[in-house]
């Protein structure tokens, strides 16, 4: 199992899986491990996303009509269409035609304006500056407004007098680090965030975790040893 905790090995496996060259038993074994470990899933998912746009380079080919007919029959879509109309179709019953047209126009404007906006997830793949085989993943989700941490067992040192503390390092180096909260060596590590913090993520370059002494009041800057750090990337 240990080899799957080494980023050099598991990132290569994740890339091979995403590309398709990881085959046979090795592929099945990796799928089992992905089922257990969020960090493997996250890294593999990131590579699948990176490779997927290659499909757009293929010249499009219209599939025969029978494919849709078979899908529609299997999912019994003919029966559900009448019941589940689109949001636009539903509006017709409640508002005049002109209003629907203007709502639709606004929706299109909003959709266009949203292009290139802030992503909905950020990920920091953090490594230990001291022990290269140790890593953890921090995911920042807009959907649930939280930062979720995933790490192999034993990634965080268990020390009664020290608290693993999470920091966000701004891209602007004149700005001080932001203290986000503390982690526990055991159990789930999730931190709720507010809208302002979510917006700030666009200006964060790195996540870092330091060991802060318990017997001192929380400081605005890391005082203890940095045990993990890694760049934050938008997914």
């Amino acid at each position: 199992m240990k080899r799957y905790q080494n980023p050099d090995i598991f990132e290569h496996l994740a890339m091979s899986y995403a590309l398709g060259t990881l085959q046979g038993k090795a592929r099945l074994r990796f799928e089992k491990l992905m089922g257990k470990h969020l960090y493997l899933r996250a890294v593999t998912h990131a590579y699948q996303q990176q490779f997927a746009p290659l499909a757009n380079l293929l010249p499009a080919e219209q599939p025969p009509a029978r494919v849709w007919n078979a899908i529609s029959k299997e999912l019994q879509l003919g029966k559900t269409t009448a019941r589940q109309k689109s949001w636009l179709a539903g509006l017709w019953r409640y508002v005049p035609v002109a209003a629907v047209a203007s709502i639709a126009a606004s929706a299109v404007t909003v959709l266009l304006l949203n292009t290139g906006n802030q992503p909905s997830v950020y990920m920091a793949n953090m490594k230990s500056p001291l022990q290269q085989d140790k890593m953890m993943v921090a995911m920042v989700y807009q959907e649930t407004m939280e930062i979720a941490f995933d790490m192999p067992t034993g990634a965080l040192p268990v020390k009664d007098d020290m608290m693993p503390t999470v920091w966000c390092i701004p891209k602007d180096s004149t700005q001080p680090p932001m203290r986000m909260g503390t982690l526990t060596a055991k159990g789930e590590n999730r931190m709720p965030i507010d809208k302002a913090t979510w917006k700030t993520m666009a200006n964060i370059s790195q996540f870092a975790i330091s060991l802060e002494p318990m017997d001192k009041p929380p400081s605005d800057t890391p005082q203890g040893e940095v045990i993990f750090n890694g760049e934050l990337a938008a997914l």
Partner: protein, 180 residues
Amino acid sequence: MELLNELLQRSGQGDATAFRQLYDTASPRLFALCKRLLRDEALAEDVLQEGFVKIWHHAAQFAASKASAMTWMTTIVRNQALDKLRQRQSRPTIAEDVEYETLEFASLAPEPDALQQSGEDAERLLHCLEQLKPEQRECILQAFYHGQTHEELAHSLAKPLGTVKAWIRRGLEQLRGCLQ
């Protein structure tokens, strides 16, 4: 891109009309991918069907996903095709098929609309692929589009297995560095 995302989200809420529009918009590229991977039109149709059934059943999970709709659907359909390739008793042959070896279809100077659909991620990926040695790039693209094993790549490129494995390993290492 945004339109596809919206159609997929509405499909997740059980909107069959949106799902039909989603299929009409996305299926031609996904069908092309299935045909490349499976090299069998009937099998490609089966996989496209299975893929879209899966997309309908899992569309509700898309809202929490981090990918664009096209990327999300490509991953589902491609995994379905790779599973099908592995299930087959005899894998399709590729050796004599020149079209599949030249990969001209996957030009690294694609049409502007293809790039626009893929966004910045695709541009970065293409930039990184261009930095690779030609043989490394060829192996990686062959593996993506044709789902070939190391052994099949060695056969179709007429190179020793160890050489092909090394090309792919180094190619992926270099890509990893470039993409980060």
